[in-house]
Structure formats: C-alpha cells, structure tokens
C-alpha cells in the first residue's frame, strides 16, 4: 500500500493500539482534530477517549503524567505538538523519564514514546522548525529516533513502543506528505540503533538522518553524474543509540566522510560522529571529515530558512572538498 509518512505513522499507532491494550495516546489536539498533522486521525473514534485523549496545554504534565502511567504499567505514546516545545517538559524528560529505571535500580521502568514534529523547509512559525535532537546526546537514558521515510517511520515507531525505555521519536514535518512509499499493511519493526545504507558507494561516506537523507541522496546522485564519484549514503535512523559499527565500516572502506544535519553545528551529531571516526578509524581517513549543518544561531524566520538549512549545493561542495586530491 502506497502511504505518506503521516499515513504510515497513523497505521503504526492503530496497530499498536489494537495489539496492546496498555498503549494509550495523549497530547494536544490529537482527539477529534486528529492531531495538527492528522497523524492520530480517527484513532479516538476507533479506540475511545480513555485510550486516545486530548490534554490541557501543559507539556510538562504530558511527560510527567506519562511517567506515572508508564510506571503503572501502561505504554503511553505522548505527542508534543512541536519539538521546540519539548523544552517546557525538559525536566520531566531528562531528570524523570530518562532516570526512572536508574533511580529505582530497575525496580521501575519507563516505557514511554514521545512523538514530536520538527524540521525546516516548510515556513512554520518560530520554534516549529528547530532541530533539537542534538541536545539529547548529553541527557543519558533516552533514545532518539528520526525516520526519513514512511516505511522506516512505521517500523521504527512500532519498535519504539516495544522498547522498555523512553524513546523520543522526532518526525520531520517536511517528510509528512512529501512522498508516498510502499508500506506493508501488517505490523513490522525496524530495530532501534541500526543505521541503513541507502546508497552503496566506495569513495566517500555521506551520513545523514531525517529529511537530510534526501538532500544527501540528491547530492550523491549529482556527484555521481558530474564526476562519477561513488558516494555511500548512510541513513542513521536512530541517533541514540548510534550505529557506530556501520559508520566505522563505511569510513574504513571510503576513507572520507561528510556528515549532514539541520541542527546547529556545535556539539551536534556531526561532532560526535567526527569524534568516533577520529577514535576508531583515523588511520583510514584520507581527508578531514566535513560537517554540513545548520549555523550556530537560532533557526530563523521563514523568510530566511532556505539559507540556514543545508542544501544540495552545500553538501556537493563538501563532497568535492573531501574528494579533491
């Protein structure tokens, strides 16, 4: 069945609600409105108000109450309407959800999924586009997933709901409806922590996640056409845990790497991956690893975002630099 990412996510949630009555959905406008992006469309009608419910406008309470529900034995899937508002629930996320297992020495787990849209390129108001995933590298105890297509989104969301620990599931707004893909009707899972080589190559490793995977692939295609370069494109799928083995294997093969993300440069995934490459395969490295990222300023207003989000041209130039003799 050909589905958009919104439809694939909706199917995934429906299947989880069907197979496991511990699963509950909560968030702002997810009920009759079906979510501002329609990801939860029809689910309240199908499963009732006690399984799928709207909440007051309180991000901290959405996460804080979910922690309580998760400890009780439910499997809450909470929606934060836009990732920029995760900051309002930061303490519940980072000091509570992410540490319940740790604090209780495993007496209590916190199986909780937090879904939230983010990402540039769609002219949203302030704080609707910001990429916040990098923050969570420094907050242990929470996994972070960022699907790049409908198929992955469905399988990764099922795996996130299965996971015994909290999972932050970040959905790139630009991918919601931008394309359809063949998505199996039945439930399937894609393991968290495993990257996906979406284009094989031998000359350079191009590492990305979320919407940037597509920009990266365009750049790879362009370079192949223009100069026959063989670019390997890796879709991380999950940034924590990070699939270091896949990164190292690729860079050991290619000797060159470019990392792409929309999030600011400082301390982002690009930094961590460069450090891993440095530690684990420095001697295979033929050129400095390049980072193509957002700038170290807040995500700008719609009128300026095209100059902030990495472009095919910026990625191609980075590829050219690492490929130059």
């Amino acid at each position: 069945m050909q589905s958009t990412m919104v439809e694939a996510l909706n199917q995934a949630l429906e299947l989880e609600l069907q197979r496991d009555k511990r699963v509950v959905l909560l968030g702002q406008d997810i009920g009759p409105n079906g979510g501002v992006f329609r990801v939860t469309e029809h689910l309240q009608k199908k499963f009732g108000e006690s399984r799928v419910f709207d909440t007051p406008l309180s991000e901290s309470a959405i996460i804080g109450s979910s922690v309580g529900m998760a400890v009780y034995g439910l499997r809450p899937v909470a929606e934060i309407q836009f990732a920029g508002f995760l900051f309002l629930s930061m303490s519940q996320l980072v000091t509570q959800a992410a540490r319940m297992r740790f604090r209780s020495a495993c007496a209590f787990g916190c199986p909780l999924v937090i879904r939230s849209p983010f990402g540039g390129g769609v002219r949203t108001p302030e704080l609707h586009s910001d990429s916040v995933e990098g923050v969570f590298l420094q907050t242990p105890g929470i996994k972070v997933v960022l699907p790049s297509n409908p198929y992955d989104a469905k399988g990764l969301l099922a795996a996130a709901v299965d996971d015994p620990d909290p999972v932050l599931f970040l959905e790139h707004i630009k991918l919601y409806r931008s394309f359809r893909q063949d998505v199996p009707e039945e439930r399937y899972t894609i393991p968290l922590g495993k990257a996906n080589v979406v284009r094989e190559g031998t000359d350079v490793s191009l590492i990305a996640y979320g919407a940037m995977v597509h920009t990266a692939q365009e750049a790879a295609k362009k370079l192949h056409e223009q100069r026959g370069a063989s670019v390997e494109v890796i879709d991380l799928r999950t940034i924590w845990p990070l699939d270091e083995a896949a990164i190292v294997a690729s860079v050991e093969k290619t000797g060159r790497a470019v990392i792409v993300h929309e999030a600011p440069r400082a301390g982002g995934l690009g930094a961590e991956i460069t450090a891993i490459i440095n530690e684990r395969c420095l001697y295979s490295l033929l050129k400095p690893v390049e980072r193509v990222t957002g700038y170290d300023v807040p995500f700008p207003v719609p009128g300026h975002e095209d100059h902030y989000v990495p472009t095919v041209r910026r990625i191609s130039d980075a590829l050219e630099r690492v490929l130059a003799e």
Binding site: G31, D54, P56, T124, H128, Y295, G303
Partner: protein, 351 residues
C-alpha cells in the same frame, strides 16, 4: 471545604447594546477611537487572511470576535507602559502604537527588522504562556526602578494550563507587581474546549489561590473591558498590586489559517456567539448616543481599508533584511565561529 464565590461577568452593555452597568467616563472622541480600533482590528485580520490565501502572508490567527477584548486590554495603557502578548492580540499592539506597515511586514515571514521598541510591546509570543512571566518581570523591574509603569500580560484560556502562567500569577502576588494579567478566554485552544482545559468553573477563580484579586469580565463588551482594565491599571500604578482578568469572548474564526474548526466544533455554537458580536453591540450604543450611524460607519471602514491597503503596499515594498542578519541578531558581539559561518552563508548567497 474551600469554595470560590463567583459574580456574574462584569457588563456595561448587554448583547443588545443596552446599558446595564456603570458607563466609564470617556469623551466622544475616545469612544469613537475605540470603535475605530475594533474595526481596524477586524479589517486588518481579514486582510491578512486574504493575503495568506494568496501566499503573501505566513500562517495567521484571526482575532475576529475578540476585538473588544484585544482593544480594551490595551486602550487604558500609557506610552511608558509595557505589553506582553501572544499572537492573538494584534489589535492590542496597534492600540499601543505599533505601525501598520511594521506589523504587516512581519507577516511576510521576515523578522521584525526595525522592530518598534519604543512602543514597549514585546515581540508576539509563540510559546504559549511564556510571556506572562516576562510581563511580571517587567513589572518587578519597574517597581524596583520606582517608575510609574504598568505592564499588561495577555494570553489565552489554553495558556492557563501551562506551569509558566501559574508561576507568573504566583510571582505577581508575591512581589505585588504592577501588572495586569489578562486571559482572553475565547472558548477554545485550537480544538480543545475550555471545559477540558480546567475543571475550574472560571479561570478568574485561579487568582484567589495565588492571592491575586481577579475579575470576570464580558470580553465582548468594550466598555466593560475598558473600565475593568482601567481600574486594574490604576490599582497597579497606585502600588496596590496585580489583578487577574478573565475576558469571556469567542474565537469566531479558525484557530489559524492552518486550522479547520469544522472537525471539532459545532457551527451552532459559532452562530450563537456571532449574535454577541462586540462591534455590533458597541455600535448600537454609539448610535444611541448619536456618535455613529450606518453611513458614518461604512465611511470609516472604507477609510480603514484604504489605510490598510496602503500599509500592505508599504510593507511589501520594504526590503527584506539580508539573510546574514541572522548572525547580527544572534549575538551582540560576533565571535570567530559566527563570522566564519556568516562567510559561508554569504558565499552561498552569491549564485
């Protein structure tokens, strides 16, 4: 058990425009100014929606139906006073002196370059509830500085569920800050109705639990809004501390241009509220006082439309700030990393 005792909403004009309460002492000019602001708000709001449909404006939330509340919460303020609001209080910013072209410019999706700081309006707040703490902080600062300055913080009914709103109420009380916290209860937070936002009978009742006097006001009655706000602003200026005001009103339109209210809202409810239209109500009163009539009203509307169309042209003629400005806006003093990134951005501007 502790229970909150509750008056009916304060009203000066009933929905038919009949006087049912103490009419504030306002000159004819002032009354007409309020009327004009209300029409300006509605006309501008509809204009921006039209522009948005043509791809000439970004996402926008209409304030139709809330003109009395939005105008009334700002009208009693003086130039030195401050205003901190959400995106729904456009009209309040106009009353406070933000020029039409500047406001329209921001809806082109560019930043508020040449933002009119002298109007003492904080930039429109997107993070719900957040600005209420800024309002309290501004008021605390005014009190510390010993300035005769009052601050108004405004938000919606949904915002009252945020921790920040409640912390703001608590701090306003603790520091006896010269602030008026206004909740525009328009019945809905996108698709979530007021009764699902809180089990409290009224949001005004929130005040007592924080030691902040509060008042429930008919938000579609400009005269009630005006006098309730003047009382609260005067109290604050006199050092008597904060007030919480719940303005009962209704969001006639969609939440924003991205929203479809038919998914969650009964059209009958909308119709019922249209009957309480704040502009029609005030017009009836003004007509009674011989201050306006259909002819003069439509002349005023035409004039407002011309004014707004001129402002749109002016705004669309304004040059968009150069993209590299994002680096100037981020830090007062740039540092090497920022300058390198500025160079990169500029490099990619030159195509």
């Amino acid at each position: 058990m502790i229970t909150a005792t509750q008056d009916a909403p304060f009203q000066v004009l009933d929905p038919e425009g009949q006087v049912v309460g103490p009419v504030p002492a306002l000159s004819d000019d002032r009354l007409l100014a309020l009327f004009r602001w209300m029409w300006q708000a509605r006309t501008l709001s509809n204009k921006i929606i039209a522009l948005q449909r043509q791809g000439r404006a970004t996402t926008f939330g209409s304030l139709v139906g809330q003109e009395a509340a939005a105008v009334g919460l700002a009208a009693p303020l003086q130039p030195q006073d401050w205003l901190a609001t959400s995106y729904r209080e456009l009209a309040s910013h106009l009353v406070k002196g933000v020029p039409l072209p500047t406001m329209l410019f921001s809806f082109r999706g560019s930043s508020r370059d040449h933002y009119p700081a002298e109007t003492h309006c904080l930039p429109i707040q997107i993070v719900i509830g957040t600005q209420m703490l800024h309002a309290v902080g501004l008021a605390m600062a005014a009190k510390i500085a010993g300035d005769p300055v009052v601050v108004v913080g405004a938000c919606g009914d949904g915002a009252t569920s945020e921790g920040d709103f409640n912390e703001a109420l608590n701090w306003a009380g603790v520091y006896k800050a010269p602030v008026v916290l206004v909740v525009q209860n328009n019945g809905w937070a996108i698709s979530v109705p007021r009764h699902k936002q809180s089990a409290a009978q009224t949001l005004a009742a929130r005040g007592a639990g924080f030691g902040v006097p509060s008042r429930l006001v008919d938000g579609n009655d400009i005269l009630a809004m005006y006098s309730a706000m003047s009382d609260a602003v005067d109290r604050a200026r006199a050092g008597e501390g904060p007030t919480l005001i719940e303005a009962l009103t209704y969001r006639i339109g969609a939440h924003t241009t991205a929203d479809d209210p038919t998914r969650y809202r009964d059209p009958a409810e909308v119709e019922a509220w249209k009957a309480k239209d704040p502009i029609a109500r005030f017009k009836h009163y003004l007509v009674g006082r011989g201050l306006t009539d259909d002819a003069r009203e439509s002349a005023m509307i035409t004039q407002l439309e011309d004014e707004i169309n001129a402002a749109v042209e002016e705004a669309e003629a304004m040059p968009l700030p150069s993209p590299e400005k994002i680096f100037d806006w981020a830090y007062a003093n740039p540092f090497p990393r920022i300058e390198e990134q500025r160079a990169t951005l500029k490099h990619y501007l030159t195509e």
